[in-house]
Point group: C2
Chain length 371, copies 2
Amino acid sequence: MAEKNERGTNSGIIIERLRQKFGTEVLDMFAQAKEPTLHIAVRTLSNVYFDDKKNMIMLGNKTQKRTFFDLKDARKFMQTLIIANGCKNLIESGKTTSIRDLFYNTKHTIGDTKENTFDEQEESDPIIEDIEVSANALREELHLRAQSKGSMVGDLTIQDAGDTIDLRKMGSGGWAVPSIVEPDIVQFKECGAKFILFIEKDAVWSRFNEDKFWKKHNCIIIHGGGQPPRGVRRMLRRLHDELKLPTYVLVDNDPWGFYIYSVVRQGSINLAYESVRMAVPDARFIGLSSFDQERYKLPAEVTIKLDDGDKKRVKEILAYPWFQRKEWREELEHMVKKGVKLELEALSSKKLTFITDTYLPEKIERKEWLA
Amino acid sequence: MAEKNERGTNSGIIIERLRQKFGTEVLDMFAQAKEPTLHIAVRTLSNVYFDDKKNMIMLGNKTQKRTFFDLKDARKFMQTLIIANGCKNLIESGKTTSIRDLFYNTKHTIGDTKENTFDEQEESDPIIEDIEVSANALREELHLRAQSKGSMVGDLTIQDAGDTIDLRKMGSGGWAVPSIVEPDIVQFKECGAKFILFIEKDAVWSRFNEDKFWKKHNCIIIHGGGQPPRGVRRMLRRLHDELKLPTYVLVDNDPWGFYIYSVVRQGSINLAYESVRMAVPDARFIGLSSFDQERYKLPAEVTIKLDDGDKKRVKEILAYPWFQRKEWREELEHMVKKGVKLELEALSSKKLTFITDTYLPEKIERKEWLA
């Protein structure tokens, strides 16, 4: 489980970082009678920026102090050491667990007091993020699981926790993408795929799987049941990087679809420090485009009126630095001009298999994507 | 895809039922100058009852007429025939699709009017339920998919859409349970499992999978990401019936957990007509029990106070006819008396693997379940 891998970080290195930053250094400060202090990266918007070259949302260098002898910091200081120790134990034991489980595992009443180490999970979750940034490790590398959602099939064989899994023979259900897909758990083996197709909706993914789209077009298809969870995002990044395959994103033509594309591509503001391992900066937006209704002569009755919330969201997206290119502005402005949105399922008004027979193959053939 | 199976209904039979009830019979009424009329089962609470012998929520015999020449019925009459025809086409083509997709596929503006066949999916969904009941077919047998969620591994080999899948070699992710698991798509092959364990939460399922619980204890473990979707419920029923294995349900000790158990066991009021194919009337409730805190000496700080919503929900559940046995009343009343609920993760306060090492094996060994 702890092998060194091209992209992954050796678990030993992460344990060492935790021991150093939250163990040895703190003990040294005590020993030298200095005030024990932790430096934690600031994760608010004021420390987030868009890196034009990398094409990603990144975290800046601002840090804040957390000192042991400061009354308002002392509790968080203790919590930080408890969680760091919990993660170290997890990695050492080769086990993974959920952030909720770690909360319960580390929650206890201190000595004879009525003071708990943590009262609510809202206290332990931000501490986990502090440690991720400080130890320069994804929470998955700290052996912490998030929700798992999503499924994957295609022209690829993988190894998962020691089992060899042929993703060409996964029936109608597919392989459930786990929350942790780090290289010490999941490895890629034989691959005949020429591209990766990320699909927003599980129902549409099932259309692609049932029609064996991945077989006819030599690709990998993956969905995350709506907004993709961390496991699916990290998987997309690893597939893209390690297999050197182009990644296409297929979402509804609405502000939410654009947002999902944006998160897959550039990362999110909340988790800016993770972009560097989760984002796929050259992911291609293959559809639905605001111009598809005209292009494919879809009837008016399958469109849905934009509501005020949609319009507001489009304005917000238009303000993102990564949607400033001419083609993107045209795409978003055309949606507002027409005043309607379009779901992937709207293509079924032509034919149930129109999306797999015609739409997607044509789009790729004609290179009709945005990046 | 259309083979006859012990438990499944031959697709040919379902096509014939659709053709008969929504085609031939209607045409005959037109030919005989009778008023074309459909008889649709009533699906409201007034026609739902609890069957003590079968231990299931069932639908009664009340039906309502839908006549073609009645102004308020005419639209629904048309919609019923359109959806029935759509399902027939689906089954004949061997394709499956989502109810949203079928809505788009059948939505169109009629002739030169401004009238649409359907305006919103809220119109087509109840029609699908009408047809399910009238044709005595699950929507899955009409080739309609619901949301897919959940994952499964264990001592079992299955076939899914022609692929042989060894559920003993599915890594950390598992096989994603599809929405349609009818016998013409999913078949069970070699099985060494002695029981089935349904787990409410995906994070807890991952604990059981990582600890290879299913291997040590020869079983199948399955989750549905919270309230299980139809595919997981139908899968539980088929596993139970066809493999003749006891089914254990492991949920949080809160009203929501009891409700999930109740749905797995007896079906839900909304979908009473499906109980007969989805419910597992002798599913065993293995935990968490309201008595587990004392039994396992769990510290007070890992309990959560019941709020007013919880207390109200417990009262509702206490009124269900299927929670009237003494043991059940004690279970529910003890929760209210203590005033706290308990999540599965609370067991991690003892040890992360307490639930897999000790809790579950002991419960099964000592036969500490409720049914």
